[in-house]
């Protein structure tokens, strides 16, 4: 009886592993799209809050922030997590008048900044900034070589 039960349990585990391997790609895609939607929701909510609180008469103000990564073969999950962290850092720019934005300060806000994402550290490199009602940051990122690793 015990043998049968053990066999059943192992069979169940084997089946679950096979199913997991079969559905892996679809589950990964769903996970990535969920994370993307989370980032979008966060960004939209923050923008809405800012826009609601600011004077609606002002025309030349930053209304949205867009983050673009120019890294080839970049990991989409890492980029999403980095985007969330960067949006948090740049939220205060929303509502600022475009003429009054100090571009050097904006560059130094992100350039060479080290961000920790999922236990790994990444250094940002600012490539291009477009200061417009929809402010765009074109960035690159590299893994920080000083990151700690688990050792036995």
């Amino acid at each position: 009886m015990k043998r049968l039960l053990s066999a059943l349990l192992i069979g169940m585990l084997f089946g679950a592993v096979c199913m997991n391997l079969y559905l892996r790609q679809r589950l990964d895609e769903l996970y990535i799209s969920r994370e993307k939607l989370k980032v979008e929701l966060y960004e939209t909510t923050e923008r809405l809050k800012k826009l609601e609180s600011q004077d609606k008469q002002k025309q030349n103000v930053i209304r949205a922030i867009e983050i673009q990564f120019m890294k080839e073969n970049g990991d989409p999950l890492t980029e999403l997590a980095l985007e969330t962290a960067i949006l948090e850092l740049t939220q205060n720019l929303i509502g600022e008048e475009i003429e009054k934005v100090h571009h050097t300060l904006v560059i130094h806000l992100l350039d060479r900044r080290i961000l920790e994402v999922d236990g790994k550290r990444y250094q940002l490199q600012v490539k291009t900034i477009v200061i417009a009602p929809k402010m765009t940051f074109v960035l690159n990122y590299v893994a920080d070589p000083d990151a700690d690793a688990d050792q036995p």
């Binding site: 592993v17 997991n20 559905l23 892996r24 996970y31 999950l77 890492t78 050792q151």
Partner: protein, 109 residues
Amino acid sequence: MAKLLDTLTLNAFISFGVIIGGTLIGSLGAVFTGQAPGYSMVELAGKLKIWALVAALGGTFDTLRAIEAGFLGLKLNTVIKQLLLIFASFLGAHGGYLLILQLAGGRIR
């Protein structure tokens, strides 16, 4: 010699099994917690590699002590044997890691 070969084979397969089993069953856990299974597989395989080595050797301290004793006692045979054991375990672990990497789509996170 034959006994050493047996131990080397056993170590390689143990570390291989630790990686394959740990990763495949571990990724089931990722599914239950709402994480991406493919990404978790690659991440787990990378994290488990060093532990698979340790598990196959049966703890690092005995091996290190044997190497130390071999060096101090000038018993080169013991030192080479322990290094071969480590190498075999690493080979098994890395083989398992590469297999998982291919299963997960061949990307390194």
